[in-house]
Amino acid sequence: MPNRKLTVRNDQSWELDRVPLLEEEIFRKRIIEEVRSGGRIANFFVCPEHNGDARLFALIAHDEQSKLALYSFKVQKDAPFFKSLTPELPQAQAFEREIAEQCQARPDGHPWLKPLRKRMSPGAGFFRAKGEEIHELAVGPVHAGIIEPGHFRFQCHGEKILNLEIQLGYQHRGIETMMQEVLPERRMLLAESIAGDTVIGHALAYCGAMESLSGCHVSPRAEALRAVALELERLANHTGDLGALSGDIGFLPAAAYFGRLRGEFLNLLMELTGNRYGRSFCRPGGVLFDMDATMIDGFRRHLLKAQDQIREVCTLFFTKPSVLSRLENVGIVSSEMVKQWGFVGPTARAAGCARDVRIDHAYGMYRFHQIPISLAESGDVYSRAMIRWLESQRSIDLLLELFERMPKGDLLRPPGPLKDRSMALSIVEGWRGEIIHVAVTGARSQIARYKIKDPSFNNWMAVSLAVCGAQVSDFPLCNKSFNLSYAGHDL
């Protein structure tokens, strides 16, 4: 038993005792083997124990085989360190920095162990290039636009970026700790506020964890309605991103049209849920609002119109030479980088890596309605923009297909108490990529640990890599092409 691995599935829960507890050496060897054989570190986090020890869990995903494996090992209180995985597996870097910040366990040999969310003293701890004509550029936390705070430190030679270091943490609100302390009703509201543009994505991940911990099965109708909301969220954000990209390169007609289309998708969400971002819709056990025949009909008509308009505006956008020359070969993230650093979502798919939770670890309605994966090859800004267009089309197709035959069933089946001493895993493909929530319970339905991983947590490194060697003036465009969440990263 102790040497075996625990194979788990999405939206499943298991007793904590079943997770193999390995020796550190064996754990390390297994993780490295798994990643070398095509796996990736989907999650790596700490559960502090009462006696001061720390138990570290690693979730390894083999996406092509739809497999997930879980391993753990313990770091003792009186020897609070472990050998860092980062030198062998760079994708562990942010996870290990997070672990070092959340408990006493220190990853020895981590090449760049600096705060992830804690405050850094200004000026200290940044990589510095030296030489004649090298200059440093510091931007943020308060940026020029209406965006979230973060600090960007560029090392430049003339207009060329040699290195970019991104320091976040300004948005840290302490959500994970709060999830362990507040009442269940409040937990739901917190889950909806992890990232305000991914309300449905995070709400669904939270609901999935709670449902599997209480053995609650959601009705097919509620599952279908959840998929409707999740795809509307994706549509609103993808069209919004295309608009923002158009705006950044000064192609204003498309910026205006995409901006309006984004608003129309948000308005559909408002019609369904009473809020433009879908708050108060997903609840453990189902959803709070239904769609009647008239609403379905109205949505269908809206979507058909939007389908035409997206095609028109995208044709306008993607065929203009002046647009293409700004998007192509800028901010390249190759498939090697994706594999090495464990990027997810549209960033991975734009580099030809087929990673999509809706297909690899299908959940809810996606078990019955297969959504074709959207892929591009070049990994540049153009590809990431193109992925948004492709996925928007697929989302509309899926919604129209769902509206043809909405299944029947209860809206809400209130879940019972949570299982004791268990762990639940819930993964959702949000519009930015893979959202993972892990809940660990103690005794009497108490949440002992709640771990949230937003796709931005994996992908911020991609922004740094993409702009290396690029012009400073290309940074806003590159950054926009990822459009990562600061709040989702900082929690």
Partner: protein, 225 residues
């Protein structure tokens, strides 16, 4: 070129007729609560919250914190700036937005104000990059410990006289993060606030109504419906 013009023609004019025409909201929209005694400054406008009932009324902004608590007998209005301030800002207001720990919901709605539908610029209100070019701040988020200093510095960089607007439940009271040791439960007590715009997040028109009310730009500001 022809394609752009053709598209432009097809898209037509999309800016909403607000404030000349009253906007219409869907039936499920959770606007101003009906239940008396509700504090809009802490409300997350969520379904099933202690039996709170909502109307589809979008106008919710207030000039004083206590005016956000619903009084069944009286509807408190946003009071316009005094004449001197109105002369300065009434026809041209430049704001600097500071996100101090928000989930990005409020910021997305503020950003949406700039799109063709709401077209904030037609009212002479614009967002600027530097606080030194700004007449005031628009603040979102519960003010995290890590953003407190940056927010204060930004505030200090805005030249006098300046106005401060708190947008969303977090900035007003801490919102869902109330009580977290990592935040300071909103802007209150840190810098003086001139306008409160409640919501989670507030609808763009709720924000716009608050801004125009503050500038005294709404003809018949708040007749009861």
């Amino acid at each position: 070129m022809w394609q752009i013009l053709k598209n432009r023609f097809k898209q037509g004019h999309r800016t909403c007729r607000y404030p000349e025409e009253k906007p219409v909201f869907p039936e499920r929209f959770r606007g101003r609560p009906i239940t008396p005694g509700v504090d809009m400054g802490t409300s997350l406008f969520n379904e099933g919250a202690e039996q709170v009932q909502y109307s589809t009324e979008y106008r919710m902004a207030a000039s004083k914190r206590e005016d956000l608590i619903l009084d069944p007998n009286e509807r408190k209005l946003v009071s316009a700036l005094d004449d001197k301030m109105k002369r300065l800002f009434g026809r041209s207001l430049k704001l600097r937005e500071v996100c101090a720990g928000s989930c990005n919901g409020c910021d997305s709605e503020i950003q949406a104000l700039g799109n063709v539908v709401f077209d904030l610029a037609r009212f002479g209100i614009e967002f600027v990059a530097s606080p030194r070019h700004a007449d005031g701040l628009l603040i979102t988020g519960p003010v995290t410990r890590n953003m407190e200093e940056a927010l204060l510095k930004t505030y200090e960089a805005v030249p006098e006289p300046k106005i401060v607007i708190a947008v969303g439940a977090c900035a007003i009271s801490g919102g869902p993060f109330t009580g977290s040791p990592q935040t300071r439960n909103g802007v209150e007590g840190l810098i003086p606030i001139d306008l409160y715009i409640p919501g989670c997040p507030p609808h763009p028109l709720t924000i716009l109504d608050g801004l125009l009310g503050l500038l005294g730009r709404l003809e018949k500001p708040h007749e009861t419906h």
